[in-house]
Symmetry: D3
Subunit: 221 residues, 6 copies
């Protein structure tokens, strides 16, 4: 433990620096005096929000290059709920690398019988469902419902009321016992939404960084 | 963050204090100067090892009482790979409570395409498979193989050679990309086994405490 | 066949003797002059109704002791729709031992394409679904709906109207072709409910005792 | 119960009267002094053994006609492990009608974690697997292995040694905890095979008649 | 390619010649100057529409005889959405033989994330769902809804408005991205329905003949 | 049908022109005098063979650009068994666009109960299995086995002996009833392999172009 301080790199694949700052703040509770450094960065090549297949595919190779160029980090987190380039980036490094969608779902499963997801928009849901099937994690899926907002809008404070409305539908109509925020930009709403719904609300970036924290510490421990 | 220090209670439901000590040591990397206290305790009412259905059922109500009596902990981890009393204990508290089998599988899924499990003995495997089905997490399951040892034996140092042998079968014959140690008592073998196999090896107690760490910090953060 | 008369012991794990009497009456058609004795008993240690995880867990060890102490029965039926202690009790005896939830679902599958379940209350449904997943029997599950009554209330005669209402929702909205009474205490309503719905209605205790009858006779036959 | 005596009709869809006699004898333990009459008959139009798709399809309409012509029976059992004409015959009557493959699997699931099947020949296995998928009952399926005999041969006494051999493979290599005899003609071997294997062996015709017995009694009870 | 011209035989198992003519017209785009002959015929033994289990079973053996008697065709298509006698007919020939339900679903899966089905009537849906499970193709199934018409009615022109109504429910309420016409008689409505819905509409006979075309050409190619 | 001739564009995403020529020849039987033009092209930006995640991801955006730039084609086929960029490209066009892996599996399912796959190398298998799960098409999957060759090698004539060896393992050990060639470069071996194995062998590019042929003709027909 006395070696150089370990580092977890969290990459926001969109180029919206406000989203990166929101992520950075949301990770504050996972920073410890003697724990790994948690560094958040914005992918310069990224689009302003990742909302289409083209947005997703446009960042995979830049992410791979970023991972391969970064020799100073002990683990990586790709902070977009479509897990762009997850397997591609894993191919490029032996270090642990986490996708926030995967970690968000896995963490929800440790807290609840069935999970629901709040998506930014209807068009993401089809992609998310396909990915859920790819992960083999559909059995305890309760449902996914859209906010119908842009990524940028969803990070704003006025979003909370809409989140509560959609969260209640997931809980009361779909039977969700936990709700996942289906976009990295909604982190600031996690606690108030959890209080409003009375069931666990999972911010997937926090979930992934928690897992990265464990992986980094245990690799050395 | 300036309040009283948070606490994660890890309960070893068997009464073998050597196993509890092994768990306690294995959790050292997850302790931070300004992080939650991680307290390991032995369930006095527990059997010396949990190997039968009767062993599992014998600890569920004592675990529930322990959880309900402990008002000072912020989260709980039940450190037995059969997750005894998981839903019973969750019914008794609003605080996050984790089972190591569930967290072990979920953490393996964040690291690998398919996971294998090393069990203490053949008779546990049937119970584990039933539980895997209950969790709805069978799709990326590669296989489970027994050491054919007692819980006490499995904590001993001579166990490593046998673990490597079984781990290689899981990797090479069953196609596992990660291996879960299917008993809380094997934690000390995680790192050497990982080095020998060249794929992630998951100690489920470490996995659960990592998730508890996140839950505790984020509840306050 | 000329030996001592075989015996099937049916245990009501709650301590409500009225429920036991209702079970006993419902089993009358399965008693034959030259068939096995069917003995119903109330578990003294049981709660008045089994409605929570704690209720379920509180009866598992007493059930195991009862099974192990009873050397005169040829088969056992645990008459609670949560199948408390099923695998625990099976570990304690080589004799056939049946759970009514498992037998209720299996018997419904022999009569209908898809089955629905009437539960006592919403809170049981989550537990039942988890168990259905554990049994691997979800593929032909149409839905489960609650009466929102206590176990004691559900055995009363005024319950029928509510049962018909919920049964019709299962049939018409969820597409169930058979309905299972999700509590041992509703047996007396089976026939009138079946007549009202026009599809098979399964009392799970009757289903389990039927299977026990076969097992007992064929073991000797 | 004082009305005319109820009757269960068991139809052997092949025209091999020796198989019908074997079935008839195997059902003796399910006959009670005051219970339903259990009548076994041979389908005259049937082939000598049902081994191909053409054999299966050749008996479906004759079975339907037989069911519709028989107004004196309270329930029917189609005694061929391919469940020929099951849904066709159900369409033609409101009385309970059981297929032995379906009942064999369902009964095995009430006795064991995972079941295996002994088939007459390799060519039946593909059909059985397709049917298992149709029933939605694959999750606890351990495997199916062929005797490589004709239906006629399988009813002979010398078959036992081969059955034990195949049953041991299902138990030891495939992990079956119960074995189903995948042909109505093997009933006489059930008990000795069960003794040799030490796990439940299910004769599917006995399983179906047991369920029919329950259905008939409860319809009147 | 210079040999005798290849031939695909499409059999309408119902005896409604108007349906056969509709099929024949719908296949015109799949006929090429130098391609296989596509011959549509009506099964004389068939009922006027296939709407019940008895209708389905009544045509299986006639279909088998037709296939075995036809030595001049290179491939067969059974043009009824219940795929009557599919495995029976395959047993009788080494030539490729396609069922339109199977091909309809498989073709929809090549065009869309999730598919819906328009059925003639509610009673067919239960049979279709059972068959979908048998094919192992339920994971991307969005739903099935009935027109509540006879086979004969569904081929008439006034059907389109009702088809559009049901298709919109499948698309908007069930989330279907493609719609399959669940009856061979609706082919003429494919194009206008596709234009009205804005998602692919699959005529299953066209889907099957397309696959047959490939199989026939590649067998020689 | 009298308009300009329709065109199906088949893109080989690797830059190995020999593979493109092999594909082109294999599609000859699907060309008709009055049918769509089938044009095969090599993606210049592609790697020499697609064997890694980086190879897959490297071609997705070039494929999208190619599709968007080609206004003269009526349908597209992406001729690589990893279906690179499938959903990305579909997002960029309203015209039908097929992936050969998806079409290969779907076509195999129309011909056989269970399918096996011959992969170029072990490392592709993990990716293929993940994709099979994403497609929801695992239920009738028998197994996948590697040739352990490069893409370039696999197109050579000496490959046939190895293909037959692996194909026989899939058939005899894994129970496959059809075999898919898991790489666009093996097309020339389809017919001899099929003759050697005695079960259908599916070239996925031929399968996809067959489906494209249907889609193109029916869009106009």
């Amino acid at each position: 433990m006395a070696e150089t301080r370990a580092r977890i790199r969290v990459v926001n694949p969109n180029s919206n620096a406000a989203v990166t700052r929101g992520i950075d703040e949301a990770l504050e509770p996972l920073r410890f005096a003697d724990g790994p450094e948690i560094v958040c960065s914005t992918l310069e090549e990224g689009p302003f929000g990742i909302e289409s297949e083209a947005d997703v595919e446009g960042v995979t190779l830049p992410l791979r290059r970023l991972v391969e160029a970064d020799n100073g980090s002990d683990a990586f987190v790709i902070a977009c709920y479509s897990d762009p380039g997850l397997h591609l980036c894993r191919e490029g490094t032996a270090r642990p690398l986490f996708g926030i969608a995967e970690c968000g779902v896995l963490t929800a499963l440790a807290r609840a019988e069935r999970f629901g997801v709040v998506a930014i928009s209807q068009r993401s849901i089809r992609r998310h469902l396909r990915y859920l099937r790819q992960m083999g994690l559909t059995e305890r899926f309760a449902g996914e419902r859209p906010l119908e907002m842009s990524v940028a809008q969803s990070a704003e404070s006025g979003t909370l009321a809409r989140l509560i409305e959609v969260g209640r539908e997931l809980k009361n109509e779909d039977g969700a016992d936990a709700v996942i925020l289906g976009c990295a930009g909604m982190a600031r709403h996690r606690r108030p939404l959890e209080h409003a719904l009375g069931i666990p609300v999972i911010d997937p970036t926090q979930a992934a960084v928690t897992m990265a924290l464990g992986a980094v510490r245990l690799a050395r421990g």
